[in-house]
Symmetry: D2
Subunit: 303 residues, 4 copies
């Protein structure tokens, strides 16, 4: 098994529902559109994919569709975390049968005060030892209430089957502390859409982004401008996206992302309950920000 | 269907594992011992039961065993929450077939910033409308990162199928604010073992306690002393239990509770990973506290 | 020097301003009204007194006035904390010259991550060793971001010059844990107006309350009903006050308390900037709650 | 009055004590050493300067000494915040008489829940209108528990007498959101030593750093390498400093910084109580990190 390199911009795909039921056709249509972009690949069953709202069967089906529909160059990563170590192993191996490139495994979160570095180390090492595909550790304290320590990441990175981390903490000091101590080939993927450019400046490999579902080209442009050493342009493009990203993640979350997708020619639709569809005030704000962004993007092109 | 009254002390049962596999026999043995106590009933699949570490099949089996093994007077409540509204309804109705008395449903927690009062209200009302057994709302912000508002509780309490709340927040001001506005017959069950006595003083109906797995008699004694208006004795018994409770919940959690059970003639065993078995330092502390408690209990009896 | 006993209900007095300048006359008038109540005494320069908004000279003057104006039975306590140990000692001794009964000293707060139990112990012991009046430790984590550990309180309580604690944390488990280990004569004063009754049930000595500036009689009634073992009545009175207390502390704070005082025949006035005067929405809410309370109080009397 | 431009690296100076008493001579010696570096200027009475531990007289004296001792090119900024608006204005104008370049004014913090954007706006505008020197807003939520909103910063920046912000939040998304909306000439100074390089990449003007007291040259080198567009070198130098910065701020704070200064030929000494001198474990860690850093710096030079 030769591991692919995890770098560039990945979209954390939303899961399309129609009247609460999953819609395979909308999912395929979205992916076909993303296939024409410079996205490095897709994350299925991430936070953005409302993984916590899906049954195991639905989850399996979505990963299968993604695998079948994505163009050959695209990397496929699936979120496979369960709260217990053994269920995580089982479910990861279940999805591994679909020949995906990696599993993205967020920290457990329920027994917060007991999830010490020792417990997390034991958890990830057990998983890495027992699953058939490479894994990426996923740090998202704003949703889980659990933070992975910088020194733990460095330890985990030495395991041959732990090939990267997605960090959504928004704390770039964590990246600075971790990155000099990572083995070659280990990927550091940013999860915060407002920090793509400064994160790349510090040596991140790329990013996994919710926002990339709505504006994939703007996201991949930041990456390619950075790779071409066009720092000023990359910086400005980053700053253009900050407010949109805040709206689609921190403030309104998945319902707003889905609405933005609807506005931009993808299928978004409604989230599953308990998430509510975006309210009118939120819709108004998303539309205003998208208009501003469209104007800014034109301005940048004229320079 | 005539709803039972939820009052008195309930034990939130642990789930026994042997080498990581569930052990029906130990579970039965524990329940048979609890059947001889004054416990009002049992909560299966609560936080203490490591519900998040069990498959649906394991969960079903444990509730079935509890129902079959408990003596007739004991009330059976099962934790049935899933992150999405629809999966919660499905799973609750699945367990309802076992003829249990109520479902205990903790708040969803993953998309914290989107779980507004409006979203939670919609969630609980949908569930209450669609499940075949009465439900108890479960507020446990230290594990979920989500708090239910006092005014929302009062609104939920008006639904005929929402018959109570378990509050593990440890915030008695919440109880004071809620209790005058609850309809008759609605149960307020405390989830914080250090606040049984003051909570009863304020009008709580009873408590659902992890600690009751280890020291059921001491817990039910607080309740019965209170009912007999023996306030001083109830108070002293409460204070005797504060440190033990802190150790078994806040500080070391489920692994410590299981160890204490082992010390006291029940079957505790190890938790499932990522929870680690209690370390030596923790074991030492639990033993010391249990010894002190045993001494204190004798002293109280002599008075 | 014979230390007085700190028990019963104390009012944490507001500091009256007129156009931003301190008003000695309004302060005296308020105190004269409080002299006719069953309040055990007054706390000057507490959080409620906007101590952080006053110069040392203004602070001294207010304590002097309180000492001169209060009737002989009332206990006078002054808040004297500064961020450093040495300035706290200096300022406490400066006020000690006014022959007050005790100093209330909140934890330092600026260097939060360095304020370990060891640092706090050293701080309070140094102060206790070097000041001429008894001190009360003040735990108010919601304002300071620093919490005193239960075991530290028990250690501090052994110092002959540390005679009590005011705890505004709202965490009654803390009280339960601390109280069995306190030496006789050490006072545990509640700082949370919604927990007077349950706190007394657990053995607290009394309370220091912002709310007592607005409704002193209702507050002292809870205490006296409790002392007469009229538990049901004490409980109901407590619950009547929960919403008012929430409004005057947690939600709107000092500006709302001052407005409520204005509504009830005391002088409240405006706070000093950066605190803003209560806005119209807040005023409306305070008035509605005060009306409801007045109705409830009548109802209770008729029973 | 022509305002100076606030860019480059500033040292937030520690305040030297000998046996708890302030030491003017050590302060002068330190400054004379810093005068030979490329530091843009000094911040006196910042968090690092233990401003909260000083009397007004001591504070005035230290600023006076700094003004007299610094070489002509260095910018002098003093921390002048008090909790109330009026005391902040008074103290700022008192120090303005020393002909300093600007006042750094951190948010008030005591009445956290009342310090809304409206209250903070009113506070800063009142100050800016009434003080005789330009002001810099200071956002340090980890010490104050209060965060300034991005949109508020943009509003404040329009006031002619508010010339910059120091942001110690460590949240670069805040910088990204704010910076496109700032008027020309407004300075954004970073307060997080681990984020100098990525912050400069995003357009920050410079940084005010505690760490610069111990390793001024390494800090100014990051800035000058960045200005020369030597991005790789700047990045590596930044990463070399991350662990030292963590130790001197987050983990051990001022006591560790003072110890590191002692190790490196400056005068550090002990902090004032309640801060404790660095313990042996901390000293060991600081020495190890300094040795590693010294080795890394040599390595970088050889490249």
């Amino acid at each position: 098994m030769s591991t692919r390199v995890f770098k560039g911009i990945f979209a954390a795909l939303t899961t399309p529902f129609v009247d609460g039921e999953i819609s395979a056709s909308h999912f395929k249509e979205n992916i076909k559109k993303y296939n024409t972009t410079d996205l490095a690949g897709y994350v299925i069953l991430g936070s953005t994919g409302e993984a916590v709202h899906l049954t195991d069967e639905e989850s399996f089906m979505f990963v299968k569709i993604a695998k079948e529909t994505s163009s050959s160059g695209k990397i496929i990563i699936a979120g496979t975390a369960r709260e217990s170590t053994r269920l995580t192993i089982e479910f990861t191996n279940h999805l591994a049968s679909l020949d995906i490139d990696a599993a993205l495994i967020r920290t457990p979160s329920y027994f917060k005060s007991q999830l010490t570095s020792e417990a997390l180390k034991n958890h990830y090492f057990s998983i890495a030892d027992n699953v058939k595909i490479p894994i990426l550790v996923y740090n998202i304290p704003q949703n889980t209430g659990v933070s992975i320590d910088a020194s733990l990441v460095c330890e985990l990175a030495r395991h041959p089957n732990i090939v990267g981390i997605k960090d959504s903490s928004g704390n770039l000091a964590f990246l600075s502390e971790v990155i000099p101590n990572l083995p070659p080939g280990f990927s550091f993927l940013l999860g915060a859409g407002s920090l793509i450019f400064p994160g790349l400046c510090l040596g991140a490999s790329g990013a996994i982004l919710a926002m990339a579902d709505a504006v994939p080209d703007q996201c991949t442009n930041i990456y390619s401008l950075f790779c071409q050493n066009k720092m000023e342009q990359a910086k400005h493009l980053q700053m253009d996206l900050v407010l949109l990203n805040k709206l689609l993640t921190q403030i309104y979350g998945v319902p707003a992302l889905k609405y933005a997708m609807d506005c931009l020619g993808f299928y978004g639709g409604d989230p599953r309950s308990p998430l509510l569809p975006l309210n009118d005030e939120g819709r108004e704000k998303v539309r205003i920000i998208l208009e501003k962004l469209s104007h800014l993007v034109k301005t940048r092109k004229n320079i």
